[in-house]
Point group: C2
Chain length 220, copies 2
């Protein structure tokens, strides 16, 4: 499976969360990080060809006024033009669309009775509708809220879930266990601790990870 992560952030260098995600980005041919800068002119044909080569397309951005930053919207408007997207049928049919969205607002505020009143499912509805229109499979958005307030363990959980969001074919419990085992086998425990940004002694047994997996499986 090939995954393309399209990153939009008006101030990438200063973003703690984007730098964290970049540093933990899988080193793998099948996952590609693509940054859209504000001044960039997009080569429409090349962008479209790149989409066709990938199975999972991910938009990664901070929530700006309850939507994507303008540059990502410009990319969407220019690249997903009608001639490309609907030449007879949707050319992206069957591919997956994922979102990695960071927000400085607590997720708890996004509900009836919360400050924001509406859920993040509603905020991100335009992306769900875009996926529907293109007959893409809309993945459950990956939300990172108030990253800077997270504990080290919580950040690690973000990192693991992020890597899995990019690379796992399916998000069920068994796929997650397989991912852990294959990561350890492929890279060895030393390398794996490095990827995870952990001290080695923190990884001495897998109990913690399994507990984490079991806990997070309800959300998987």
């Amino acid at each position: 499976m090939n995954t393309l992560v399209i990153v939009s952030h008006p101030n990438l260098e200063k973003s703690v969360v984007q730098n964290f995600l970049k540093a933990s980005f899988p080193v793998d041919e099948d996952v590609q990080w693509k940054y859209l800068s504000e001044t960039m002119q997009f080569d429409k044909k090349a962008e479209q060809a790149e989409l066709l080569k990938n199975d999972r397309i991910i938009f990664q951005f901070p929530l700006y006024w309850y939507s994507a930053p303008a540059t990502l919207k410009r990319w969407i408007d220019e690249v997903l033009d009608g001639d490309f997207a609907f030449s007879g049928k949707s050319v992206l049919e069957g591919k997956e669309l994922g979102l990695v969205v960071s927000t400085g607002i607590s997720e708890k505020q996004f509900q009836a009775g919360g400050q924001e009143k509406f859920t993040l499912s509603e905020v991100l509805r335009p992306f769900e509708m875009l996926a529907n229109k293109l007959k893409m499979k809309y993945l459950k958005p990956f939300i990172i809220s108030q990253f800077e307030y997270k504990t080290e363990n919580q950040k690690m959980e973000v990192l693991i879930n992020y890597q899995q969001y990019l690379q796992l074919d399916k998000f069920d419990f068994l796929s997650k266990i397989d991912w852990f085992v294959s990561q350890s086998n492929e890279r060895g425990l030393d390398e794996f601790t490095k990827i995870l940004g952990l001290k080695k002694n923190e990884l001495e047994n897998l109990n913690w990870q399994v507990r984490l997996l079991r806990e997070s499986d309800g959300e998987g």
Copy 2:
């Protein structure tokens, strides 16, 4: 009451609906048409000052991928920065936010069971949330769907409702009647027919208008 209409459309010259709205734009000091071009650099301070001078701010745009065109989003991201919008309290508190949104898709498709599955209230939620955050009053969006399929009478109804959307303090039945009377008095019936783009004989009695008003009042 002062109204600022901020227009965004990637291909303004070719847009039938935008040309129609521009041609029928009220000639009045209290209503201002402001077009955002794609290549324009925004003077943030000047834009902010302009917002403060107006009571009703309207975003006028075609729905592009279930959202505003990228240029309007750029304007929002740049002009509504945190320092301006929340210097202690919201500087735009109490002002109104309206939307004039055109779409090539029938409004009927925007509902459960329709092709688009979700309502336009949901599609436009990010704007409602923006208004909430700024403590602005969110006006019921003014939707123009499939303009090119409309009959002449339906287009006229769009025109009248559009002018009222820009200029009426309130949208109740009496305010609408007052608007008609004052339009006729101020400009005379000849001028009024011209504004409405009607042949004079079509306006010979007000019965038609009153019927129109009564019909549309449920939506007022």
